[in-house]
Amino acid sequence: MQLEAANVTFRYTAKGPAVLSGVSFAVKAGERVGLLGPSGQGKTTLARLLAGHLRPTEGRVLLNSQPLPAKGALPVHLISQHPETAVNPRWKMRQVLEEAGAPDPDMLGVLGIEPEWLERTPGMLSGGELQRFCVARALASGARFIIADEISTMLDAITQAQIWQHLLAHAERRRLGLVVITHNPALAQRVCTRVVRLETLAHPAPNSASAQ
């Protein structure tokens, strides 16, 4: 399986600047690709395009050389950098989890999710606690590709190591493809099979795309 962005350009508004211009990127099943680059250069935008949350202005996002399916559950799951914006604030955490399918009780234990938290609403949990739910939800969703957008920057180092080791074990066992967006080179080195920098993904002469 392969998830691919083929020569994508993206603008948030029709006349606005191109956040991404002629970017190509691919990740295969079993690969864990680290994506590094300065803030505000479009890493999260690329993540949203790959996950089908946004559509490219130009270019295509392909899953096994086909456009992303328009119907049914998409086998690409994005875990956001801001867990507080990825959960329904009025739902109890149990509902949030079950949105993606029945959670595996073992997984809740490994991720350090206390049974009591399931009865709380997101406002009563810390960012790190919410992110564990988002990881559990991603793994329960049956996705083949997981895009982890700065998922552990708001976690303490021990929780970060726990969550990543859990995610890596799952990825290995199920041959998931992972895109790992991070600002931490040491973390990328630990968890990724290869690392690319965003600014190297655009085709030469990026201005030609915006001039059209």
Partner: protein
């Protein structure tokens, strides 16, 4: 750090509890912060690190008087030696004490970020100040015309930071100001905080990023399960586990990707679970029967403080 400088902020034995309902009638109490103590003096950066959910953000909210409804607190909070009453918090908030909040949802989604950072002050010199702060934080001039949803994660953090930097507050509480920023930008942001401290302000830096804390803070306070477990000099963290006092601080150091990525099993006890002894005992390699008797008090050790009976 100047030990003789007058304390700006003193937190002594702080606790925060949430009321909660169980079923239809029963009520319980959730102790989110059990026993926190720290001091911030003018001219220094004190970093607070520790487990996610250990109460770091709640500490910031308690000091500012911005706790969620339903929370009760106790213990002593003092600002410049005087108790911080709710009335005094309202007076000082945004003037003497400023908060850089953690969640980017604190930005007003319907307001362009430039006017938002200026805080309703429409004088041209305020706009100039805002532009200068943006430039220093590496935000392009056109950023001020954007709405929050148009910002990247790292840009939103820098906008939040500028709201506090632009004012004249003596005490700055920065709650996770750097996630989403590239290493150079994060260092620039903390460089600004360090300069503010140099100019005589006090900074309480709440962070998960131990490396940045070590580089920029004078001292580091470690939280675990709503308690202070260690106070150390940043240099102790730079030196490694042998210089640290508490087993949790040592585990935190070893969990960094560059130091072994060691995932100590277990999680901190939840606020709802009463634990008679040391809160770290269930995960601790040094645990003995004595550890389960009572939660040890903070004690002085090797120029720092530790809450452990075995630490040497």
């Amino acid at each position: 750090m100047d030990i003789n400088a007058a304390p700006l902020l003193e937190v002594d034995g702080l606790w925060v509890r949430f009321g909660r309902t169980r079923g239809r009638f029963a009520q319980g109490q959730l102790e989110a912060i059990r026993d926190l103590s720290l001091t911030v003096r003018a001219g220094e950066i004190v970093a607070v690190v520790g487990a996610s959910g250990a109460g770091k953000s709640l500490l910031a909210q308690a000091v500012m008087g911005l706790l969620p409804t339903g929370a009760t607190m106790g213990g002593a909070l003092r600002y410049k030696g005087q108790p911080l009453t709710p009335k005094r918090q309202r007076q000082l908030r945004g003037r003497e004490m400023a908060l850089v909040p953690q969640a980017i949802t604190w930005l007003d989604p319907l307001m362009r970020v430039g006017p938002q950072v200026r805080g309703g002050d429409n004088r041209p010199q305020q706009a100039e100040r805002q532009r200068a702060v943006f430039a220093r934080l590496g935000l392009a001039p056109q950023t001020e015309r954007l709405y929050p949803f148009q910002l990247s994660g790292g840009m939103a953090r820098r906008v939040l930071l500028s709201t506090a930097v632009i004012g004249t507050a003596q005490l700055l509480i920065a709650d996770e100001p750097t996630p989403g920023m590239a290493p150079g930008q994060a260092a620039e942001a903390l460089g600004i905080l360090r300069q503010l401290a140099h100019d005589g302000r006090g900074v309480l830096l709440i962070t998960h990023d131990l490396e940045l804390a070590v580089r920029f803070a004078g001292s580091i306070v470690v939280f675990y399960a709503g308690t202070t477990v260690e106070e150390a000099l940043a240099a102790d963290f730079a030196a490694g586990p042998a210089a640290l006092r508490h087993p949790y601080s040592q585990a935190l150091w070893r969990a960094l990707p560059q130091n072994g990525f060691e995932a100590t099993a277990g999680s901190q006890p939840h606020a709802g679970t009463p634990l008679p002894g040391c809160l770290y005992a269930p995960r601790c390699p040094l645990m003995t029967a004595a550890c389960t008797q009572q939660n040890p008090p903070l004690r002085a050790l090797r120029g720092g403080m530790v809450r452990c009976i075995h630490a040497t």
